[in-house]
Symmetry: C2
Subunit: 215 residues, 2 copies
DNA sequence: GTGACACTACACCGTGCAGTGTAGTTAAGT
DNA sequence: ACTTAACTACACTGCACGGTGTAGTGTCAC
C-alpha cells in the first residue's frame, strides 16, 4: 500500500490514470443506461472497459460507488450542456420559436454523449429508492429546469411571453419537447431522428401558443 | 398429475382458484412496481401473498411469466379506467376545461388500484429491453392515447379546439398532465396530492391555450 | 540493480435467489 | 373408505455475481 487515498467510506482507492477511469466510467454508463443497474455485472463493465475486474474495484470501491460516480458525471455534463444551450440559444432572442427549437434540438442531440437523457432519468429514478446518496443528488436533475424557468421569466419581461409561473412553464416546455421517449418509446427502441425533430417542433409550437401574449 | 393444463411454454400449470391467483398477482404487482423486477424475489412475493413459493410456480411457471401476467392485468385495468374516464368526462362536454380536468383527475386518482401509472410505465420500459414478449404488449400502453386523440378530434369538429394532428395533441395533453412524476418526483417520493392537482389544472389550462380556436 | 506502483490473471468465498422434488396435510367428490 | 386435487413446508441444486486475496508482470525512478 503506497499511493492509496482514503475516502469517506473508509475504503482505500487507487490513484489511477484519468484514461482508465474514464474508460470504466464510460463502460459503466453505457451498460447501466442500456441494461439497468442490477442486470449489469461488474465483470461485464470490466470487460467492456478493457480492464481487469480488480482495477474497477481498486478505482471505485464497489458497484454502488461506481453507479454514483456515473450519475454524478452524467449529471455534470448534462448541466453543462444545458448551460451551453441556454447561452447559445436563449439569450438575445429575436425569433422565439426558432430559438426554442434550436435549444431543444441542441439538448436532445448532444445530451450525454451518445446516451439518452431519459434513460438517465429512468436509471436515477429506479435506483434512488435503494440508494439514499443518489436521492440526494437527485435534485440536480431539476436544476436545468430552474435555469430554463429564469429565461422564460426574462422573456416574459420582454413581453414575448405571458408566464405567471416560470417553474411550471419550464416543466411544460420540457414535457412538450422531451417526452418523445415517455409514451411509446422504450429502452433500446430509439425513435427515429425525424420523429424526434417533428416532436420538438410541434412541442415548441404548442408551448408558444400556450404562453404567447394574446391580443 | 391430474388437473394440469399445458401452456405454450410446455410448462404444466395448475388450475387453481381465482382468489389465490389474484393474491399472487397483487403481491407481485406491488413489489415489482415498488422495488423493480430484479430486486423482487419470488420468495418475497409468495410471503406477501400468503402462499407457498411452490404455489407461485405452479400457477405461473416462472418469474418472467408472472411479470408478464402482472403487466397484462395492469394494462387491462388501465385501459378500462381510461375507457371509463372518457365515457364519464369526455362525451357530451359543455365546459371543456372542467371536463379535461375531471378526466385527468379521475385517471390519476384511480389509476391501477393504488399503484402508479408512471411506475407501470417505468417497469415496462425497464424490462422490455430483456423481455421480447413484453415489448410486444408494449404498444398497448399507447392505446389510451389513441382513444384520447379520437375525442380531441371530435372536439375539433365541434369547433371547441383546433387540432391538426390529434395524436400529437393527445401526447401533449398527457405530457402536460401526467408528468408530475417525470421531472423531480422519484420512486417512493410521492408528490403531494395538492401538487398533483395543481399540475393537472395548470397542464389542462396550458393545453387549452395551445389548442383553442383563435379570434 | 532495487524499490514503488499500476495493473492483470485467476482462484476463491459467500450468498442470494430461481427453480425443483417430494412428503405430508386438508378438503372435497364419489 | 378411497381418490384426487390443492396446497404447504422444506430441503436441495445450480448458478450468477459481488467482492477479496494474491502472485506475477511491466515500467518508471533513482
Amino acid at each position: 500500500m503506497a499511493d492509496m487515498t482514503v475516502t469517506d467510506g473508509g475504503k482505500t482507492l487507487r490513484q489511477g490514470s484519468a484514461v482508465k477511469r474514464e474508460a470504466i466510467l464510460g463502460a459503466a454508463r453505457g451498460l447501466f443506461l442500456a441494461e439497468g443497474f442490477e442486470r449489469t455485472s461488474v465483470d461485464a463493465i470490466a470487460a467492456l472497459a478493457q480492464v481487469s475486474k480488480r482495477t474497477v474495484y481498486d478505482y471505485f470501491g464497489d458497484k454502488r460507488a461506481l453507479l454514483l460516480s456515473v450519475v454524478e458525471q452524467a449529471l455534470g455534463t448534462l448541466m453543462s450542456v444545458v448551460d451551453r444551450a441556454i447561452a447559445d440559444h436563449l439569450t438575445e432572442v429575436q425569433d422565439l420559436e426558432a430559438s426554442l427549437i434550436a435549444f431543444a434540438r441542441s439538448i436532445s442531440e448532444t445530451a450525454i454523449g451518445s446516451a439518452d437523457y431519459v434513460a438517465l432519468i429512468r436509471l436515477v429514478s429506479n435506483e434512488a429508492a435503494n440508494l439514499p446518496e443518489l436521492r440526494a443528488h437527485n435534485w440536480a436533475m431539476v436544476e436545468p429546469e430552474v435555469k430554463v424557468a429564469d429565461r422564460l421569466a426574462a422573456f416574459a419581461e420582454q413581453g414575448l411571453l405571458v408566464v405567471p409561473d416560470p417553474r411550471m412553464a419550464a416543466d411544460h416546455l420540457t414535457a412538450l419537447t422531451m417526452t418523445p421517449s415517455m409514451t411509446g418509446a422504450t429502452a433500446g427502441i430509439t425513435t427515429t431522428n425525424d420523429e424526434t425533430q417533428r416532436r420538438i417542433v410541434a412541442g415548441v409550437r404548442a408551448f408558444i401558443r400556450a404562453y404567447e401574449p394574446r391580443g
